[in-house]
């Protein structure tokens, strides 16, 4: 362990929650990154030109996945210590930070935005449609388990392992996890579509005998919803905007209601 102890690193991890408060078009998360590692830099570099130079160094462009940013922060602080001891040149910090932030963005965005959030959303939507009032709390707890794990462990991994942290991340088999989550999301959609797109028609009441009504209702609901989703998916693949598709759907709903087909 270097100059920074557990509490200093936890302080950095806590500040990383505010990473994007000053997100801007020039440096993106640069001010947030500097703000987060500032307590560490203040301990490593004495007051004066060395500290000012460190601040200026970290005002350069920075952009990564926010949940994986503490990993980059940990590695950067470890490198800053080595720079203060005169073991490395400034360029190494710049190059390492750039490489690491790109890798973390690819891994983090792919996992959190591309797989975990859609999966948790689909999972809690099944609960929301069942009117479970605790749905938002379940969403928050479930979503934040990996988030907080990477957020708080990341800074320790980065600081202790340096650039070897990438080898550690490989052990998580994130690609495999993404695949599993994608399949599970599709399976949840198979449940959600026939059961939670509400499509009711008057024909069943008019023409079906009572004993067949519920089976008929379920079949019409399932097949109708699947067809509707299929049409919307085709429109989405044809690059029609989601809001335009929603608008067309609303128009169809009103027309079909007006003709007495949907109720």
């Amino acid at each position: 362990m270097g100059q920074l102890n557990r509490w200093h690193l936890l302080h950095v991890a806590f500040r990383s929650f505010f990473l994007q408060a000053s997100w801007n078009y020039k440096g993106m998360m640069n001010m947030g990154f500097l703000y987060a590692i500032q307590p560490g830099l203040d301990l490593i570099h004495p007051e004066g030109p060395a500290r000012e130079a460190a601040y200026a160094r970290h005002l350069e462009y920075f952009n990564t996945n926010p949940y994986f940013s503490p990993i980059v922060m940990g590695v950067t602080l470890e490198l800053e210590e080595r720079l203060a001891r005169g073991e490395i040149a400034e360029d190494i910090i710049h190059d390492t930070k750039e490489g690491l932030m790109t890798a973390c963005a690819a891994i983090g965005d792919g996992f959190f935005w591309g797989a975990w959030r859609p999966f948790v959303a689909a999972l809690v939507l099944t609960l929301a449609h069942g009117n479970y009032l605790a749905t938002p709390i379940i969403f928050l707890i479930l979503y934040n388990i990996p988030h907080l794990y990477f957020r708080f462990q990341g800074v320790f991994w980065g600081y202790r392992l340096g650039t070897d942290v990438i080898r550690l991340l490989r052990r998580f088999q994130i690609q495999r996890a993404r695949l599993a989550l994608r399949y599970a999301t599709v399976a949840l959609l198979c449940y959600l579509i026939p059961n939670h797109v509400n499509l009711h028609t008057t024909f069943l009441i008019t023409y079906l005998p009572m004993e067949w009504f519920f089976l008929g209702e379920k079949l019409v609901q399932g097949v109708g919803a699947s067809l509707l989703v299929g049409l919307a998916a085709l429109a989405y693949r044809a690059r029609i905007d989601v809001l335009m598709i929603s608008f067309l759907l609303m128009l169809c709903a009103l027309v079909l209601y007006h003709w007495g087909i949907l109720i």
Binding site: S22, M31, P118, F139, V186
Partner: protein, 265 residues
């Protein structure tokens, strides 16, 4: 809570805090519609003694908004529509304008119109978000100049100022919409006749189809997966609608198919 200014203040406070979570700070996903909308409904419901009704309205609108913008991601330069503000405002407008109606149909119509209006407000929220980001760029330039002049306090100050701008934007926007938007929405709902009203309920039932379609397009990447999806749809059309059947089956499917894919590789 009949004072419109007081209810607008509560909505603005929730909007400001929730909007901070969407990109600026925390990112615990309180800003996701499925959380932000019920949260707004709960607070507004508590202040009128109708907590369960508020929470339920929030869940319904939150679930729809969650699906409408499910593919919008805050990646790189992309600024997604402000789903957090849309969620807060849809519930705020729907609840404040509708909670005094006696009939279920009128309340439902009110919430559907509020939902449609909030989608437009979400797009306006994106423009405001871009404005704040441009303001942050100016702050960034000021920080760089100040640091060169030896002011080491400038980065922390500039960064905090950025967060303050985000909060103020959301607070003011929500305050104005909740203060000025409720009465016009009520008049508009009253002006609709009954026949059109139930048509609005049909809309609310069908809207999730768009979100499901987007999610399916994101997740299904091969013909084999598409066939598996069709089989699943047929299965769940016939099976009884039970989450205790669906969730374990989904998790087992994810596990088994990933192992099969590993074996094939």
């Amino acid at each position: 809570m009949h004072d419109p200014l007081w209810s607008a203040f509560i909505v603005a406070l929730i909007g400001g805090i929730v909007d901070l979570d969407s990109t600026a700070t925390w990112q615990l996903m309180v800003s996701q519609p499925i959380v932000a909308a019920p949260l707004t409904g709960l607070f507004l419901g508590l202040s009128t003694g109708q907590a369960a009704a508020g929470l339920k309205l929030g869940l319904i609108l939150g679930a729809i908004l969650q699906l409408v913008w499910i593919e919008q991601l805050p990646l790189g330069m992309n600024v997604p529509p402000d789903a957090a503000l849309a969620s807060v405002l849809s519930v705020a407008l729907g609840f404040l304008a509708g909670h005094r109606y006696e009939s279920y149909v009128e309340r439902e119509v009110c919430s559907t119109v509020a939902l449609l209006l909030s989608v437009a407000l979400g797009l306006l929220g994106r423009s405001l978000d871009m404005l704040v980001r441009r303001l942050n760029t100016t702050i960034n330039l000021w920080v760089e100049r100040s640091l060169e002049a030896g002011k080491v306090w400038a980065p922390a100050f500039g960064h905090t100022l950025g967060g303050f701008c985000t909060f103020s934007k959301a607070f003011l926007f929500c305050f104005l919409v909740a203060w000025l938007g409720v009465e016009p929405l009520r008049y508009f709902t009253q002006s609709l006749n009954f026949a059109q009203n139930t048509g609005f309920i049909v809309i609310q039932g069908l809207l999730p189809a768009v979100g499901f379609a987007v999610l399916a397009s994101m997740c299904i990447q091969s013909r084999a997966e598409f066939r598996f999806f069709l089989g699943g749809l047929a299965l769940f059309t016939l099976l009884p609608a039970s989450i205790w059947l669906a969730i374990p089956l989904a998790l087992a499917t994810g596990w088994v198919l990933t192992r099969t894919a590993d074996g094939a590789a």
